[in-house]
């Protein structure tokens, strides 16, 4: 289904849509307060953007440097060209160690690769340990937001879900009670796990180490007990130097949730004695995006989710209306670049208001890319025949001033004399909830010409 239909369905429950909008706007306001408390905020954004652009321009070099240094640290580095290879690599590591139970912290990459269903098919018990992700997993859903995966679910619904799966009291909706129940449930899973899998927020070429940011400490718990730690990263997560973190860690937490710092920013520089640490570096279409001058900067994304929180469309249509691993403005670029046929409505799920571009901590020109992406879809003949045809007609009319004047006059006259029920017919999407402007008798140019004539006459 295309975005407009799914968005309509979300808005049909107006009360929920309003609540969703307000919840995310609250996060956006928190971000504003935090950003405004840093005098050098705009300098930080500019610096982050420059570091990312520099890194992307020497991607191969830095990837190899990272691999060399990580290997020196005792980390096993794997390269995956696509999602399938990534999943096979993870499975082979797990199989080699006869892993039955895997605990995972948040990783949008593994969502992108559909790792969970793949591992489950191979008999591995996978538990997402981020609270939001666990809720979504128990409900057999996908995350609707990259930072707040369960933002579309209300606490009463969490209560129902936990009652069914974790045996909490029926009708319970107290967040403290429910969180405590999830904690106990997850603690037990952490203790029983044979391996821990995490995402990667930043990989540092200079040190060969990785950084993982969580608010719940679940990544640390997940990899602390088992002997195997697998970290999966998209290749764009790279930063050249450790000191670059001083820019990115400040931007990430403030942009994501309006916190001064993420609760846990954990640095991993190799396995514990007697343990193994693996890093899987995944391409999965990223090299293609890197090649394109128009869309390359979308790879700068640090997955803070600020563009989702600020997007007036996302806030009102919900993350699932995008039918994509990464929804919202950045997802509306990354997803159609991979699957333009399936996701051709996403670049149009946008008013081009530009709020995403201004909020982005790494200054990705998001709305410009969404604009450019529409042209790409047109070149692939993916914008729909009726839209294309109407644009051809309008362009033809507008190219001829006389025709524009003639048809404008006819349209205004018809609107002036047509009965209301004919104007507001079921095909008039504009008129469903909105009135049309009153059609004036004269156009501007007619009024202006008359005035000039009078003026000329007066002057002689």
């Amino acid at each position: 289904m295309a975005h407009p239909a799914l968005a309509q369905a979300f808005v049909d429950n107006r009360e929920r849509a309003q609540w969703h909008d307000k919840a995310l706007w609250f996060v956006r306001e928190k971000r504003d307060r935090m950003a405004s408390s840093v005098p050098e905020w705009e300098l930080l954004r500019e610096t982050a953007s420059n570091i990312k652009r520099h890194t992307q321009s020497r991607m191969a070099e830095y990837l190899e440097q990272f691999e060399a240094n990580a290997t020196k640290n005792g980390i096993v580095v794997h390269w995956a060209a696509d999602a399938h290879e990534h999943n096979e690599i993870v499975l082979s590591i797990l199989k080699r160690h006869s892993v039955k139970r895997l605990v995972k912290s948040k990783s949008m990459l593994t969502e992108e690769c559909h790792l969970n269903p793949f591992l489950e098919e191979h008999g591995i018990d996978v538990v997402d340990t981020d609270l939001g992700e666990r809720i979504v997993q128990l409900r057999k859903e996908t995350p609707s937001h990259i930072v707040l995966p369960a933002i579309h679910i209300r606490k009463e619904e969490v209560g129902e879900c936990f009652h069914e799966h974790l045996g909490t009291e029926k009708g319970a909706s107290d967040p403290n009670y429910l969180t405590e129940a999830a904690r106990n449930h997850l603690r037990e899973r952490f203790c029983r796990a044979d391996a821990g899998l995490t995402g990667v927020n930043f990989a540092i070429a200079e040190t060969g180490g990785i950084v993982i940011c969580t608010n719940e400490g679940n990544a640390d718990l997940g990899v602390g007990l088992p002997k195997i730690h697998i970290a999966c990263m998209g290749m764009e997560k790279l930063l050249p130097r450790a000191k670059d973190l001083s820019v990115f860690l400040r931007l990430l937490a403030r942009s994501a949730t309006g916190q001064p710092v993420t609760t846990y920013s954990s640095h991993f520089h190799g396995p514990q004695p007697g343990c193994e640490m693996h890093v899987v570096i995944v391409d999965n279409g990223r090299s293609e995006i890197l090649k394109s001058p128009e869309f390359r900067r979308s790879l700068d994304c640090i997955r803070c989710g600020a563009c989702m929180n600020t997007c007036p469309v996302y806030r009102r249509s919900g993350g699932h209306s995008y039918e994509a691993t990464v929804p919202g403005p950045i997802g509306s670029i990354l997803t159609p670049l991979q699957t333009p046929e399936k996701h051709n409505s996403l670049p149009f799920a946008c008013t081009l208001c530009g709020s995403c571009t201004d909020v982005c901590p790494v200054k990705i020109d998001l709305h410009q890319q969404l604009f450019t992406l529409r042209e790409l879809l047109d070149n692939k003949r993916l914008i729909g025949t009726s839209k294309k045809l109407s644009m051809k007609v309008v362009s033809g009319v507008m190219s001829r001033t006389w025709l524009f004047n003639l048809l404008g006059g006819i349209a205004r006259t018809s609107l002036r004399f047509m009965p209301r029920f004919l104007i507001y017919n079921p095909l008039n999407a504009w008129g469903k909830q909105r009135d049309l402007p009153d059609a004036p008798k004269q156009s501007f140019r007619q009024q202006y010409a008359e005035r000039q004539k009078q003026k000329g006459g007066g002057k002689s």
Binding site: P4, W25, T351, C353, A411, F444
Partner: protein, 275 residues
């Protein structure tokens, strides 16, 4: 005393520039031409009030934004070329629309021949009305009276593409050109909105293609203005206002909707265009 016309900023060619009678081409976007002639007339009145000689090149139609925003660059291109041909040779092109001006300034480079000096010049010289008044004419402290509470809707393209004011996301102070021009009017008050620059949801074809979201966004903007006591809703773009007024009228909310140019004209007292 309002500012007298001054020379344009350096770097802009200004052949034929005369200190008190600047020759400016008026660009009236197609939908304003057809549906909001009063906005066009108010723009003329305001510009003439500030000593500008206005010309309306008859050949003009549409800047091509609806096609470009739909991805149809082949359909937008002839209109960009027509625009450049129509407005080539003027000192300035002024339009009562931030959105159409942004189309010309920010997207014509992609549509027109890169080697065509004319298109680069036309692009550079095309300005939104409040921008022209502020940066070229250096108008400030407009004398006039507008004893109403005004809700200023910050149209996105003017705000975030032309930077006519401070966007709430960017942590850098900047004056709002429209607010600065209106603020000296006697009796004027401004609404304090809970979301000062959220998009109205118009978005061109988005208004129809994503009707549900578009109208919910519009509703939310209107509600914000209602609860902050807006008597007159204004903006620099009639397209946003067409959408918001459509909702206001459907919901029978007693709120006047006026383009920024109409407020200026009424406040200065030039509504009835001198003949």
């Amino acid at each position: 005393m309002y500012g007298t016309p001054v020379a344009p900023p350096t770097g802009l060619a200004c052949h034929g520039f005369r200190a008190h009678r600047m020759k400016v081409a008026l660009f009236i976007p197609c939908y304003i031409d057809q549906f909001y002639p009063n906005v066009g007339m108010a723009t003329v009145a305001v510009l003439e009030h500030f000593g500008v000689q206005v010309e309306f090149p008859e050949a003009q139609t549409c800047c091509g934004q609806p096609m470009a925003n739909s991805g149809c660059m082949d359909e937008a291109r002839p209109l960009a070329e027509k625009f450049v041909n129509t407005f080539d040779g003027y000192e300035y092109v002024v339009a009562p629309s931030g959105s159409c001006v942004s189309m010309v300034r920010n997207h014509y480079d992609h549509l027109c021949d890169h080697h065509d000096e004319r298109s680069a010049t036309v692009r550079r010289r095309t300005l939104e009305l409040s921008e022209f008044l502020t940066t070229v004419l250096k108008v400030s402290n407009v004398p006039g009276r507008f004893p109403h509470q005004v809700g200023l809707h910050q149209s996105c393209h003017g705000l975030r593409e032309l930077r006519l004011g401070p966007s709430s996301e960017v942590m850098k102070p900047r004056d709002s050109m429209m607010e600065s021009l209106l603020t000296g009017l006697e009796g004027i008050r401004f609404s304090k909105l809970s979301r000062r620059d959220e998009c109205c949801g118009f978005g061109g074809t988005f208004a129809v293609a994503e009707e549900a979201i578009s109208c919910m966004m519009g509703d939310d903007r209107v509600n914000d203005h209602v609860s902050s006591g807006t008597e007159v809703l204004t903006a620099g773009d009639m397209s946003c206002l067409m959408h918001l007024e459509g909702i206001i009228r459907r919901r029978k909310i007693p709120m006047r909707v006026m383009h920024f140019a109409e407020i200026m004209a009424e406040a200065i007292g030039v509504t009835k265009v001198a003949t």
